[in-house]
Amino acid sequence: MDFELPSENDPRRRAVRAWCEAHPKPTGMELAKAGYVVPHWPRPWGLDAEPELQLIIDDELKRAGISRPNNPVAINNCGISLVLHGTKEQQDRYLWPALSGEETWCQLFSEPSSGSDLASLRTQAVLHGDHYVINGSKIWTSLAHKAAIGVMVARTNPGERKHKGLSTFIIDMHAPGVEVRPIDDMTGFPNEYNQCFFTDVHVAVGNRVGAEGDGWRISNAQLQTERVALAKPGAIWGTGPSARELVSGLHEAGALADPLVRQQAAELYIEGEILRLLKYRNLSDRMQGRPLGPESAVQKALSAPHGQRVMAMALEWMGPRGLLQREEPFAGQAREDGLSEELAGWSWGIWFSPAVTLGIGTTEVMKNVIAERLLDMPREDDPDVRKPWNETQQTRSAHERRIAS
């Protein structure tokens, strides 16, 4: 048991600090070439950094006031798929502009009729000589309205079982036939999500990642390689305000004089600390090279409802004032993550919070994962899993017709 981080005098820390001093205002490309954008990736993009070095780099960049290029889908999610499964040409063309932040990426996975059951997706990629023709629609795509590049999972073989007939593609989001429509969500803040439509979009065979039929395996592998991070205390998917900030805000506002408020605040504070510890445990498992323990799925399943409770308490405490647009409960609060209030403040968090038990995996799906994979309880029966995908669609359209009539 040891909860301490590498010391001030650690030589790895001193090396990063020296680089930051030599590059006080680095460009995105300078940061990328130094390996500091994705230190956990292999060279030349990363440093093959062990988790402790990753934390040191996070720490030192924060201390120097340097932020990484903002390209979360490439950096945290999809980029690694090109490293693991991409060709040399794909890596050379796409990775450096992604890591330097010059080309924003988006992830084209969910569909209107495929949410939790992602593998049932319908978007089709049909091979015509040297290119595929893509038709279909993707939804809940963050950043699609700003993205140059999309990473898509589409169906290349409808006669195969649903998990087997999928392939991964790199899409030019400015290609003819791509249309991006913003989704206005209930927060009233500028749109975060989009629906994307693909009509006869041509994608060169060279932009398929991995072999045909590898799409499911590639997107799953991506989930295993998430970057370790400590500096994400926020209650809304790691961003936004935290339970600690709720308690300090209530304290400064004098609200903790009420014994019921004290009890509820303490409960949320303890939950927040538990989530912090479960993250530490996950991190330490990675650091020691151990297989990930149950805390990873547990952490995910606990953190979303916790975020909702933190937001609900702030809203209730505000009273009618909480219903005012863009109203913040605690004036001038210094934020633990250093973000400004407008970017991810309480008001945003309060009205965004219903989404956190939906995205990334609903609470119900996460509980199934815990019960089935960690407690070895029987798996849910999926009648589609052993049939060719196109047969499952006949059943499905018959069902949809019945409901419509």
Partner: protein, 365 residues
Amino acid sequence: MNFAFNEDQDRLRDSAVRFLRDRVDLARLTAQGNRPDTTYDKTLWSEIVALGWTGLIVPEEYGGLGLSLVDWVVITEEFGRVLAPCPYLGNYAGTLALLRAGSTDQKETLLPQIVSGDAQAALAWSESEQSEDAHAVTATVRNGRLNGIKRYVIDADTATHLIVSARNTKGSLGLYVVARGDGVSIEPAPWMDITRRVCTVTFDNARAETMPMAFDDAWPWITDRVLLALASENAGGAESILRQTVAYANQRIQFGKPIASYQAIKHKCADMMMKVESAKALTYYCAWALAQGVAEGPLAASMAKSFTSDAYRFCTSEAIQIHGAIGFTWEMTVHLYFKRARANAVMFGNPAAHRERVIQLVTAA
């Protein structure tokens, strides 16, 4: 950073798991028609003493093993997992008080005897029905003689020495060592958790020996470690009842399928597991924080006690529901866990009292 037990600790856990699995038999307590008041297993206890587990955290100079609180938690969690019916907890509460507040002479005399099993300690502090306020003490010591009544004293009836809080003639609070003998009468309480013995102790001019450390210096240190022990028991017990419940749900067939295949049951079990993993994380962090003496130690102790108590009560409630009516019978061990959870939750401060302390500590800075 390393959030894991080392190889020695893993070995220690393995030996505890094997020993307790072979020796603890709860079925003895749940035989139909058997409603025992006295449940402690003397053979079990003598074997525990022989293993040196009465001296896990006693320094080697006093004959103990000199292990850390993290090592101690490994064993304590296993005791909690099987509800080992023996005076492990009460003896450690008394031992901790001696370690903290005892004079060198008191430690040199008593600790080696406790380790060897020749003596056994208990901690007598609560006088109220609620067992909350350590300062609400009316027991008094005058001319080395103690008078008063202490309630809910864990493992007093097997103890040879009681560590007792009392006021002197000036009214100031302190801790005293009282050897069992004239003027000490011990009455076991009709306690619902039959895996543990809890007693009322009456002192009538009993000879009491002063312990040198001021009460307010000694008490938080002692109780934070007792809270850690209770949290470890809670985490181990909650995990055990989760495993037992999943096993039952996997074998119970209704409507042609194991009930474990129904999402309503799976989600209950997933909720239990989320509580269990949280309880373990807080408990281990608390052990580390107290062992290292970092500033968050007391905060960690109150967080661990309040959360693990609620978690244990939640898991044992759900366990009865998932077992169905059979879980409500005396012959199943589920009720033993249910009752232990409720007993631990209210000993040394209930969850609400510890949440209050959490807020005090967090906002004090």
